[in-house]
Symmetry: C2
Subunit: 362 residues, 2 copies
C-alpha cells in the first residue's frame, strides 16, 4: 500500500506525530453541498447514488475538491448490508429509511443470509476502487459500516425509531434470538469491511448510531461486544502498515473506558463529551475524533472559529486528535460555514503540535 501525499489523518489515528490536527466531517458528501444536490437530483434516488460506483465516486470527491479536508469517506449508506440481506430497503422522502420485510420472528433471523460483499454488494468495493483511482492518493479514504446493534435496530423496528420498543422487547424477552441476529450481522460487517480494505480503503469506521439508547450492561453485551469481535477479525495489517479503525457510539460518552479497551485505534466522540476529560479517561490507549456540535455551524464564522479553538484547547495539544463534528453535518448548513470550520482547524491547530506534540506521541 502506497501512503497518501497527506497522511496526517492516518498518523493522528495511530498517535504518531503530526504538524497540525487533521480534519474531516461526518456526512461531508451530502445534502448541504449544492453540487451534491445536483448529482442526487439527476440520479433520481438516494440508493441509485449508493449503488452506482461512478456517482458514488463523484459525490465522495466533491467535498475533498471544495475544502482542505484530510480524508475522504466512501459515499454509501449504513443500511446496504440489510438491503443485501433481502429486507427491501426504501427511502421515503422526508421520512428516512424503511424496510418492507423487517425481522419479525426467530425464523426470519435463521433464514437471514450473510452476504458476500464481492457478489451481493459489488458496487461497494467497486466504488472504493474507482474513488482511490480518482483521488490519486491525495488524501486517505475511509471505509465504514453500521454496527451490528445499529443495523439490528433498523431491521427489527422496520425503520427509524424513537423509543426502540420492538428491538428492546426482543432484547428483554428473547435475548438469545437477538444474539443470533447480532452474530450474523457481526459476520456480515466483518466481511463487508474486509472487502472494503481489500479494495483499498485506508481506514475504517464503525458507526454505532444507536448504542446510546441502551443501559450500560446492555450496551456492553449487545453493542460493544460485537464491535470488539469485528475489529479482532479485520485485516488491518498490510505489510508494515496498519489500517486504523475508529469506533463511534453516539451517546457513548459514559462508556469511553470500556470502548478504549475494545481494540479500536480511535474513538469518535459526540459533542456532549468534554475532549480533555475524555482524553484523561482513555489515556494513551486510543486517539479521539470529534467533536464540535453540528448546530454550531449555524453560528457566524467568527463564532465557529472560537468554538473550533475551544475543542482544540480541550484536547490540549499533542497528537491523537482528529477534528470532526460530533455528529453528521446538518443538511441546511451553509457550505461557507463548513469552510470556516476547516480553515480554523488549519490555522489554529499547528500551535497544538510541535515539541509538545512530538513528545506526547512518544
Amino acid at each position: 500500500m502506497k501512503s497518501s501525499a497527506n497522511d496526517c489523518f492516518i498518523r493522528a489515528l495511530l498517535r504518531k506525530p503530526v504538524e497540525r490536527t487533521p480534519v474531516w466531517i461526518m456526512r461531508q458528501a451530502g445534502r448541504y453541498l449544492p453540487e451534491y444536490r445536483r448529482v442526487r437530483e439527476q440520479a433520481g434516488s438516494f440508493m441509485k447514488l449508493c449503488t452506482t460506483p461512478e456517482l458514488a465516486c463523484e459525490v465522495t470527491l466533491q467535498p475533498v475538491e471544495r475544502y482542505r479536508l484530510d480524508a475522504a469517506i466512501l459515499f454509501s449508506d449504513i443500511l446496504t448490508i440489510p438491503h443485501a440481506m433481502g429486507l427491501g430497503l426504501e427511502f421515503v422522502e422526508g421520512e428516512g429509511p424503511h424496510f418492507s420485510r423487517p425481522i419479525r420472528s426467530a425464523a426470519d433471523i435463521r433464514h437471514l443470509p450473510v452476504p458476500d460483499p464481492e457478489i451481493e454488494l459489488p458496487y461497494v468495493p467497486e466504488s472504493v476502487r474507482l474513488i482511490q483511482r480518482a483521488l490519486q492518493r491525495k488524501v486517505p479514504l475511509i471505509g465504514f459500516s453500521g454496527s451490528p446493534w445499529t443495523l439490528a435496530t433498523y431491521m427489527v423496528e422496520g425503520g427509524g425509531s424513537r423509543e426502540f420498543r420492538k428491538i428492546k422487547q426482543l432484547m428483554y424477552e428473547q435475548p438469545q434470538w437477538l444474539h443470533q441476529l447480532l452474530i450474523k450481522l457481526a459476520d456480515a460487517v466483518t466481511c463487508y469491511l474486509n472487502a472494503q480494505i481489500a479494495a483499498g480503503v485506508d481506514a475504517v469506521m464503525l458507526f454505532d448510531t444507536w448504542g446510546g439508547v441502551l443501559a450500560t450492561e446492555e450496551y456492553e453485551q449487545f453493542s460493544l461486544h460485537y464491535a470488539t469481535q469485528i475489529v479482532e477479525k479485520l485485516h488491518t495489517r498490510i505489510g508494515s502498515s496498519k489500517i486504523p479503525t475508529i469506533l463511534f457510539t453516539k451517546g457513548g460518552g459514559q462508556w469511553l473506558q470500556a470502548m478504549s479497551r475494545s481494540g479500536y485505534d480511535a474513538l469518535g466522540l459526540d459533542w456532549t463529551t468534554h475532549m480533555g476529560r475524555a482524553r484523561s479517561r482513555v489515556g494513551d490507549k486510543v486517539a479521539l475524533q470529534g467533536n464540535l456540535d453540528p448546530v454550531a455551524l449555524y453560528a457566524s464564522p467568527e463564532t465557529i472559529r472560537s468554538q473550533v479553538n475551544n475543542v482544540l484547547r480541550q484536547f490540549g495539544g499533542g497528537t491523537g486528535h482528529v477534528f470532526n463534528l460530533g455528529h453528521g453535518v446538518l443538511p441546511d448548513t451553509d457550505p461557507a460555514h463548513v469552510g470556516a470550520m476547516i480553515e480554523a482547524v488549519h490555522e489554529l491547530s499547528p500551535a497544538c503540535h510541535g515539541a509538545a506534540g512530538i513528545e506526547s506521541a512518544g
Copy 2:
C-alpha cells in the same frame, strides 16, 4: 411540618436508614391510567387539568390509590411558568406544547415579567394544599419545576425541538442575552418552588429534560449553574426537618460528579447510566433516583421483575436509593406492568437493607 405515615422516600433521599427501597414513577399520574384518561376527557384540555385544583388533586391521587407508591407528585406541567410569563401556551393534540409568543429578541427577554406564583399561578399552591388535605399524609408529596435551561429551550424554540437550533444560536451568538433570560427564569423557578414549599410539598424536583443536548462546558454554564443558584435559595429548612431536593438531567450521566457538588440531596438518573458506577462516582454526597428503562415495562411481568432486581443489584444495598424509571412512563404502558414493577421493588428491596443499609447510612 408533620411527617407522613410512610416517610421512607424522604429518608432515602436524605440517606437515612430505610427498611426497603422507596418507589415512585415519573409521570405516574398520566395517560397510561384509564381513570386519568376519563378525567382528562371530561376536563376537555390538558391545561384545564393543570389549572383546576380539584382536577389536579384528583389525578395526583389516582396512582397513589391504585399502587403501593411511596410518593405522590403534584400534577402539573413544566411550562406553567412561561405560560404565566405571557408566552401563550397551547397544546396541539399529538404535537406537544407550542408557544404563540416565543422569545424572539433581547427586548422580549427584557420585558419578561417574573411571575408571583401566589398571584399569577395561584392554582399551583392551591392544588398543593388540596392534595395534601386529600392525601392525609399517607405519603409525601413532591413539588417540581422545569429547569431554567429546559424552560428556555421551549420559550426560544417556540415548542419542542430536535436540533435546538434557535436556542443554541442564541447561546453561541448572544450568550449575555441567554444569561439574562436564565437569570429571570432562575428567579421565577426559585419563587415557584418556594411557593410550593410554603403550600406544603415535602420534597422538590428540578426537571432538566434538555440539559443533555449541550456540550459539557455549556451544560455547566447554562444549565447546572442556574440549577445550583436555585437550590441555594430554596427554603428547605422547616424547623428541624429538611425538604429534600432532587436534580434530574436527562442525558447527564457524564456530569454526575459536577451535579453532585451542586447542593441537591439527590440526582435522578436516566436508564443509560449504571447505578453502581454512578454511586461510586458520587460517593456519599447525594442519593440516587432511578433508573429502569421505561421501555422495559413493555416486557412481561417476569422480565420486569428481573430488570428491577438488576437495578437494585447495581445500586448494591444500603440507603440512598429511590427506585424510579429513567424517564417518564410511556402513555401506552399496561397499568398491570407498572404494578408488577412496584410490587417487585416491594418484594425484592428489603434484602438490600437491614444491617448493611443502616451501617452505610452512618
